[in-house]
């Protein structure tokens, strides 16, 4: 079949982009796959586009706009039309969603409408609420529109949830990352299990390194944003830092919170021991240098970094926060879950594994086994079965297509 993923900005760095690329890579082995990006802010995507996957950007913005020659003037020339498309987008995508993600430009929205009208795709998969809402409104009958939830229902504003409740039932199906979120969506939409499926993020098949668990390094990874609660992690790590000054906390990620976090590190006297590592293209390579992964989030929609750490044999210590960690981590098996938002307990748990190499090694071994649950091949098979069922139940029949992949 032909499958298209629609991403707000497939050129950036982020969990959604990375996981969609991974899934596209797996599906492209047996299907024709393309990624539609509402906007692009640069010429080349941050991550390498998987072999055989076609990239279709709809609107060049920012630095990319100058090179594409469609900045300003073109927007102005098409002023009336743009205003019309802007109104149309507003009628479908709530303001909170448009504010949260700036990719719903009139030009991008118009581009998506045109794309949907002309696409030969059997399945179009949306990857965030605004896109899913547009697909629910505009996907033609011949196309199976699937909505993906990459965070969780509870993270959306009441306005967005209201729009979801009203429009998502028109989608041909939906996937969420965790069982907890499936329950939340089932309560909101009254959807049945065939329509609504739990689909964890996959781990792509790579020649992965493996941690030797001998470096005094705790890793944390994720955008430097309030939801990750790095100040709480600093407080928890302080316990380790005091008792084992040779241990280091390496935080991987970028974002607006960097300046504030720098100050918080310095204010706590942790300058020598906490390093802001920035973004990396090789997160598993970096995680494999560590002996522990720490997760201090308020909410984790899934917890991709946990399974990435598992895949290189690194156990995780996490708040038992909604939603992902408790569905991924087997407490005392491949990591430790501590009471939600209990910073002291997080510090204690980190200290325990810092001081107990044998437990680290036992849990690291279990983590490798746990990671196999998320292997790309298995997840792709689950996607194929899900899409085939949804196509069959909706009376659609995929047309023969070329295979994208090598």
């Amino acid at each position: 079949m032909k499958i298209a993923f629609v991403i707000a900005n497939a050129y950036g760095l982020g969990g959604t982009v990375r996981t969609v690329y991974n899934l596209a890579e797996g599906l492209a082995r047996r299907h024709e796959v393309e990624i539609v990006s509402l906007v692009r802010h640069k010429d080349e995507p941050f991550f390498s586009v998987p072999d055989g996957v076609r990239m279709r950007p709809l609107h060049a913005i920012g630095a990319a706009a100058g090179k594409a020659g469609d900045r300003g003037g073109a927007e102005e020339r098409g002023g009336l039309a743009q205003a019309w498309w802007d109104r149309r987008a507003r009628s479908v995508v709530p303001e909170a969603e448009r504010e949260r993600n700036k990719s719903f430009t009139p030009r991008a929205v118009h581009g998506l409408r045109r794309y949907l009208a002309g696409t030969g795709a059997d399945v179009v998969v949306g990857t965030r609420p605004g896109v899913n809402l547009l697909l629910s409104a505009w996907a033609p009958d011949r196309v199976l529109a699937i909505g993906q939830e990459h965070i969780n229902l509870g993270e959306h504003t009441p306005q967005v949830r209201q729009a979801i409740a009203r429009r998502y039932p028109r989608l041909g199906g939906m996937t969420v990352l965790t069982s907890a979120d499936r329950t939340a969506y089932r309560d909101l939409l009254g959807a049945d299990d065939g329509w609504l499926e739990v689909m964890p993020n996959p781990l792509p098949p790579r020649r992965l390194p493996r941690s030797t668990l001998d470096n005094p390094i705790i890793a944390a990874a994720g955008r430097l944003s309030p939801i990750k609660q790095y100040p709480k992690l600093l407080d928890a790590f302080s316990r380790v830092a005091r008792e084992h000054p040779e241990w280091r906390l390496r935080i991987y990620g970028g974002g607006d919170g960097e300046k504030k976090l720098r100050k918080q590190i310095a204010d706590r006297g942790l300058s020598n021991q906490v390093h802001l590592m920035g973004r990396t293209k090789d997160i598993t390579g970096e995680l494999a240098k560590a002996s522990l992964l720490a997760v201090s989030s308020r909410v984790e929609g899934f917890g991709m970094t946990i399974i990435e750490a598992f895949s290189v044999g690194v156990p995780a210590v996490s708040f038992d926060c909604p939603y992902g960690p408790r569905e991924i981590i087997d407490h005392e098996g491949d990591g430790l879950l501590v009471p939600d938002q209990d910073t002291e307990a997080l510090g204690e748990a980190l200290l325990r594994l810092v001081e107990d190499r044998e437990a680290r090694e036992r849990m690291g071994g279990r983590a490798l086994v746990s990671a196999e649950r998320y292997a790309l091949d298995g997840i792709v098979e689950r996607w194929e079965a899900f899409l085939e069922r949804r196509l069959a139940e909706s009376g659609r029949r995929p047309r023969p297509h070329a295979v994208s992949g090598p």
């Binding site: 992965l208 390194p209 470096n215 000054p245 720098r262 300058s271 390093h275 802001l276 920035g278």
Partner: protein, 270 residues
Amino acid sequence: MDVQADLTRIDAADVLELRVGDAGGGALALRRHGQSDGGLLPVERVVRAGGSLKAPLEGLPLDDGEWDVLWVDGDGRAVPVDTTDTGVHLSDRAAYLRRPRRRELRAVRDAEGRLLLRATTVEPYAEVDWVEPPSPGGDTVAVRGVLAYTPDPEREGAPTLVARQRGLDGVVEAPADLDGRAFSCAVPLEPAALLFRPERPHNEWDLWLRLPGGAELRLAAHADDIADKKRKIVFPPTVLTGGGAPVRVRPYFTAKNELSLLAVADGGTK
């Protein structure tokens, strides 16, 4: 056959240890990275012990840069050695720094899982372990570390911390301590305020340790795997008013991972 290591480390004597299980018959060789059919540099005197190979690399003519590690089988076929080990073993570095050397070797795993050696020409320097910003009301930055790649220092005499104003002629000296190969010093910040040149937005002071024999070692942090510490490690600033207008001074690692002080007018950009 493919050779896959699950442990790759280089000890202080530049012996590469590869835990490969049963690698079968063959020999180790090196080849300049990126030269698919260049000449092979055989590694002689490799010792097999249990599932490990120990390959002495000291004395091999390795130019700076990356070298592929290859396994040459009985038929003369050379295949890359793969590894799952990142090659980063921080606990090994302390012993590595203790030996005098002009070439540093590191084992590196590339993104495809191949084992590379990275050779770098090095100078003796003073490895910084810990930087302690001033306590409230204080005006010195305490620095601790170890001598790296130098012979053991002379026992007579005391070392000196030397701070030089970059691009200008300001020089400040302060006493330092040496205990074996471990050094400590207190870098005075007041001169950075007194000699502050407001026409230069950034006044940098580079830090050196002068050993009793007169050799000067740059203060730096090269031992771990973090290539660019400039934005990754941040120390808090201290505001000094001794020279008139308030000046904000903080230690920082340069783009080359060397330790310096940065003085800016308080209210400036950094």
